[in-house]
């Protein structure tokens, strides 16, 4: 008798990777993958194939032992249960070789006191060092004390889901997910340094303004789910419950200020004027010494919990009508303990009647009790969906839908006496909020919203050649705490599908929508009465065409064109009656227009022994907004001058291409080629809308950005016999980046920048600035990666 075939099948690519990645900062080459030299264990498969058995089993493994390894498992008994499990590691390589003066210990970034003292002494010397001296000194400090770190995180995601068929019509599912993210990211942390008067601050004095810190990442999320479903021929009902808990084991980040060994406690308490935000009140008042900090602290993502219940059902009705309904309710909670206003002992809280201001003997902000120990934040979301579809006649299909999604923020609003501006410099009573008496106050503004939409649509098939589909959608948004009370949008769209014979098909689409904002009522933090484009009036059009032409058997030519256009018309009117606290004229600043054109051509051919797919496209987008500058910092006078306004358009153009080719070479060989290309250019068109009256209202031109990627991979495999084969892959990938925002970055120095003067002619180079960057960037690279492997089949 013939031997039973082995139901188990095993295959694996076993070999090595040999990589040469050249460039200065090459992390981008391995952003989400591991191309390092070493062993290759890839495309592992173990599965059970026996048609006579009700059991099924399939296990896969890719990139085993590498940072981007992943594995999957499917196991089941037909009609009884199925288990799906996966484990995926995803690296995120942000930057290679960032320069850090700090050594991290848990949530603390530490610099030896001696180094801090050395730097502080240098920069507080009299006379102050000039720029060249400062740069030489800091480079020496960095050479002696800094170390390089790689900013890289890794996400590990393990999932398992099991479905059990309890009966023919009843199933139960359980699921679990364990996800962790660990490593080092980066985070900014602004501090505030107020110049005494325009152009009079000591620009050679180092103090951190924009700070970039290595951020420890040690996150975990565990989630569980349970569901059950009843399935019959004409109806079904599902119900489920999910829970997710996020924990961050490092809830705050405390960092040493390289430029300040000891806080300026004494100097910070001089020259403050009670009741005037503790800002300098005159030329002789305290300036940059105020509140200077030796250590600062910022909050990292707080722990949170999520829970959701959902149920969904559907039923078939006569006339090929189907009704589906779904409801879900979820809760998000967060109650991490608050940190103190500041840990800087140089910041005064004040003992005035309004809780602000202070004298040298006042309470320190770091010791002030918070109004609450934690937020006790809670959001409830509910969603209801109803959908009816029907095909009363063969050529006619109809549909209607109703949807409500509500985000109900039940978080308490807390009145704070103020906050430590930028955390560590000085204490001020608020941002933009004022009470009825016009006094500054500060409170959080939990803001929910409700989105309601309904739609009707239908399609008519004019025989085989044509189908016309038309839909109307009405969407309304209601806000608790936005700049507008509500928005309503009407959208009409149509799709026409035309077939000409069996070989040519065209799809034409058109969409027109108009959104109107209503009830401009709310200022909130933003004293400039921002014209938030996401809730503002919007006219939207979309149209496109897709053509598919089968040139010959197996050969298809495709063409796609899409145009998107969003306009944001109208001006934000002046308050009526004019408000002394919001004295801004009507204006149309903010986003004015976005537009996008996409064009793509594709060609595919499938033959008996080879396949080719080629795509080429152009993508062009525009983003135009208007902006303006303040002319004065005086609170109750017009601050924005129309003469200091400008319009700037970001114009992005991308040329891209992709090619995939595979061919059988003889009976045992196979060739695969994959090429991708992306060439991006971002340019800016800047137009001054008036004649600037002060220098810092001039809209200078913004340099261009560009990047390009060519990724070409060729793979060849050859089957030696039933059990063994050989394979080789080669990846060639040059990447180029021109980003002036990054090119200006120097570790702990901002580099060459223009500095504002008192007049246009006074603009000058400033050779050093007060930013504290890790230089968490990446740059050009060229990757040459070879992989040689043996393929094993059993």
């Amino acid at each position: 008798a013939a031997a039973e075939p082995n139901p188990w099948r095993f295959s694996l690519d076993l070999g090595g990777i040999f990589a040469d990645i050249s460039g200065d900062r090459t992390s981008k080459a391995e952003e989400y993958r591991d191309l390092s030299d070493g062993a290759l264990l890839d495309n592992g498969v173990l599965d059970f194939e026996n048609a006579e058995s009700p059991w099924s089993f399939d296990m896969t493994a890719d990139n085993v032992g590498r940072r981007d390894q992943r594995a999957g498992l499917r196991w089941g008994l037909a009609g009884r249960f199925r288990v799906d499990a996966s484990w995926v590691q995803t690296p995120h390589f942000l930057s290679e070789g960032a320069t850090s003066l700090w050594t991290r210990s848990g949530g603390n970034l530490e610099i030896p006191d001696a180094v801090q003292g050395q730097i502080e002494s240098f920069f507080t010397a009299t006379p102050a060092p000039n720029t060249a001296q400062a740069r030489t000194f800091m480079n020496g400090i960095l050479a002696q004390n800094a170390h390089t770190i790689d900013l890289e995180t890794r996400r590990d995601t393990g999932k398992v889901k099991a479905d059990f068929d309890i009966t023919q019509h009843w199933s139960v599912a359980v699921a679990a997910k364990d996800e962790s993210k660990s490593g080092t990211g980066r985070i900014g942390s602004g501090t505030y340094i107020r110049r005494q008067t325009v152009n009079s601050f000591d620009r050679n004095r180092f103090e951190p303004r924009s700070n970039e810190l290595p951020m420890p990442v040690d996150w975990k999320d565990r989630s569980y789910g349970l569901g059950t479903g009843f399935h019959h021929q004409g109806w079904f009902f599902n119900a489920g419950w999910q829970e997710s808990s996020f924990t961050n084991s490092i809830g705050s980040l405390t960092w040493d200020n390289p430029f300040e060994g000891l806080p300026g406690a004494t100097s910070s308490r001089t020259g403050l004027t009670p009741g005037s935000d503790q800002e300098p009140s005159g030329a002789t008042a305290n300036t940059n010494n105020r509140g200077r900090f030796a250590q600062a602290q910022l909050d990292l993502y707080p722990d949170n919990d999520y829970e959701r219940f959902n149920m969904t059902g559907g039923v078939n009705l006569p006339a090929r009508t189907r009704v589906n309904a779904s409801y879900s309710a979820a809760t998000m909670k967060q109650n991490d303990p608050f940190l103190a206003y500041t840990i800087n002992p140089a910041v005064i809280y004040g003992n005035g009647a309004d809780g602000i201001g202070g004298t040298p003997d006042d309470v320190l902000a770091k010791d002030v009790a918070l109004p609450r120990a934690s937020l006790d934040g809670e959001v409830q979301t509910t969603r209801l969906d109803l959908r009816v579809t029907s095909r009363p006649l063969d050529p006619l299909s109809l549909r209607g839908a109703y949807r409500v999604y509500e985000y109900d923020d039940k978080t308490p609003s807390i009145l704070f006496p103020g906050y430590a501006s930028a955390g560590d410099s000085y204490f001020r009573p608020g941002v933009g909020q004022r009470n009825a008496a016009g006094t500054r106050v500060l409170f959080n503004e939990p803001g929910g919203y409700k989105r309601t939409s309904w739609s009707v649509g239908g399609a008519w098939r004019f025989g085989d050649p044509a189908t016309l589909d038309v839909e109307y959608v009405n969407t309304g948004m209601d806000y608790d705490e936005r700049q507008v009370k509500s928005t309503s949008e009407e959208q009409l769209s149509a799709k026409l599908r035309l077939a000409f014979g069996e070989n040519f098909e065209a799809r034409l689409t058109y969409l027109d929508a108009s959104r109107d904002a209503d009830g401009i009522y709310h200022v909130g933090f933003e004293t400039s009465r921002l014209r938030a484009f996401d809730v503002w009036n919007r006219d939207r059009t979309r149209y496109g065409a897709e053509l598919t032409w089968m040139l010959a058997e197996g050969t298809t030519l495709g063409f796609v064109y899409q145009n998107w256009q969003d306009d944001f018309p109208g001006v934000l009117p002046e308050p009526t009656p004019p408000s002394t606290s919001n004295p801004y004229p009507s204006q149309a600043y903010g986003l004015n227009e976005t537009a996008n054109d996409s064009l793509a051509l594709s060609l595919s051919h499938g033959a008996e022994n080879w396949n080719l797919s080629l795509s080429v496209g152009l993508d062009s987008s525009k983003w135009t907004s208007e902006a303006t500058a303040k002319t004065t910092l005086t609170a109750d006078s017009p601050q924005f001058s129309p003469t200091n306004a400008w319009r700037r358009t970001q114009d992005d153009d991308v040329l891209w291409a992709g090619l995939a080719f595979d061919a059988k070479l003889g009976a045992k060989g196979k060739l695969d080629i994959q090429i991708d290309y992306n060439d991006y250019k971002g340019s800016y068109d800047t137009v001054n809308l008036g004649t600037p009256t002060i220098n810092d209202g001039v809209a200078y031109a913004v340099p261009d950005f560009s990047s390009s990627l060519l990724s070409g991979q060729i793979a060849y495999s050859w089957e030696l016999n039933e059990h063994f084969g050989f394979g080789a892959k080669y990846l060639y990938e040059p990447y180029k980046l021109d980003d002036w925002q990054w090119d200006l970055v120097e570790p702990y120095m901002q580099g060459i920048l223009k500095e504002t003067g008192g007049s246009p002619g006074a603009v000058r180079d400033a050779t050093a600035n007060r930013s504290l960057f890790l230089d968490s960037t990446y740059s050009d690279y060229t990757a040459n990666v070879f992989a040689l492997f043996v393929t094993i089949h059993y």
């Binding site: 952003e31 048609a51 981007d68 503004e445 986003l591 797919s613 500058a629 994959q674």
Partner: protein, 261 residues
């Protein structure tokens, strides 16, 4: 009936027997009555006569009819329940345009894109550009695919996403941004896509426009003029406004109303 068909269509029958459909037909009581005839009209007659014209493949029956065959089993679970009226259904797509009924056809392609993503891109051609943008999700590496976020069979949310809302979808992986926070940034809370393009961008961090161009699309500049290169400019080095306002997704620090802590 499968063995009868297998006498002539041995290759198909062998592949089918090992497939999910084959296993279900053979071993799941729920499909005890299923056979080749379930999908192929006239299979029994064709088996008797041998005439090719007596049997019809689902594709020959047309999109509506072939989808009806699939839906007869697959419409009563949450994965497929919303096919009717979905974007793909309205576009005239047939189940068999993407699925191979008899056996899996997707080939694993090493470090290139996964099969599912390639399949989607074969129609959504213009999305190819997203695969090579400066910032993107790890689809090219196969760590996720289009189906990680979208249910191609339809859903009740916009754009076929697999969640109650866009933000709820994003929070599935980015749980740390779920909050709620003491200081909320309203556009963040309402729609991640206000600032991010999840399919990729040539700006950093999937941003739809570069900072500060993006930020100044709402925020008029007061003390931070958006003039390139100025000392106090929001256009200065690195991440622009986000150098300082780094907690832009929300802050839980009492001193974080400006998202600096």
């Amino acid at each position: 009936e499968v063995p009868a068909c297998a006498e002539c269509h041995a290759d198909l029958a062998t592949a089918f027997a090992g497939s999910h459909h084959g296993k279900a037909f053979a071993h799941d009581d729920a499909y005890a009555a299923a056979s080749c005839e379930s999908c192929h009209n006239g299979a029994a007659k064709h088996a008797e006569t041998g005439e090719p014209g007596d049997v019809q493949t689902p594709r020959e029956a047309g999109t509506l009819a072939s989808n009806a065959v699939c839906s007869s089993c697959h419409n009563n679970n949450e994965q497929h329940a919303f096919w009717s009226g979905s974007a793909h259904e309205a576009s005239g797509l047939a189940c068999i345009d993407c699925h191979s009924v008899h056996s899996a056809q997707v080939e694993r392609r090493g470090i290139a894109m996964t099969g599912t993503t390639q399949l989607c891109l074969s129609c959504h051609t213009t999305m190819n550009v997203a695969m090579t943008q400066r910032s993107r999700h790890p689809l090219r590496e196969g760590q996720m695919d289009c189906a990680s976020c979208h249910n191609p069979h339809g859903g009740l949310s916009e754009k076929l996403i697999k969640a109650d809302s866009v933000n709820d979808l994003c929070y599935g992986c980015h749980q740390e941004k779920r909050g709620p926070f003491l200081w909320e940034h309203s556009p963040v809370r309402e729609d991640c896509q206000t600032c991010h393009d999840p399919h990729g961008s040539n700006n950093t961090d999937l941003l739809v426009a570069r900072a500060s161009q993006l930020c100044e699309s709402c925020h008029l500049q007061g003390r931070h003029q958006t003039v390139a290169g100025l000392d106090s400019s929001a256009w200065n080095s690195n991440r622009s406004c986000l150098n300082c306002h780094s907690q832009i997704h929300g802050s839980n620090h009492p001193s974080g109303p400006l998202f600096q802590r």
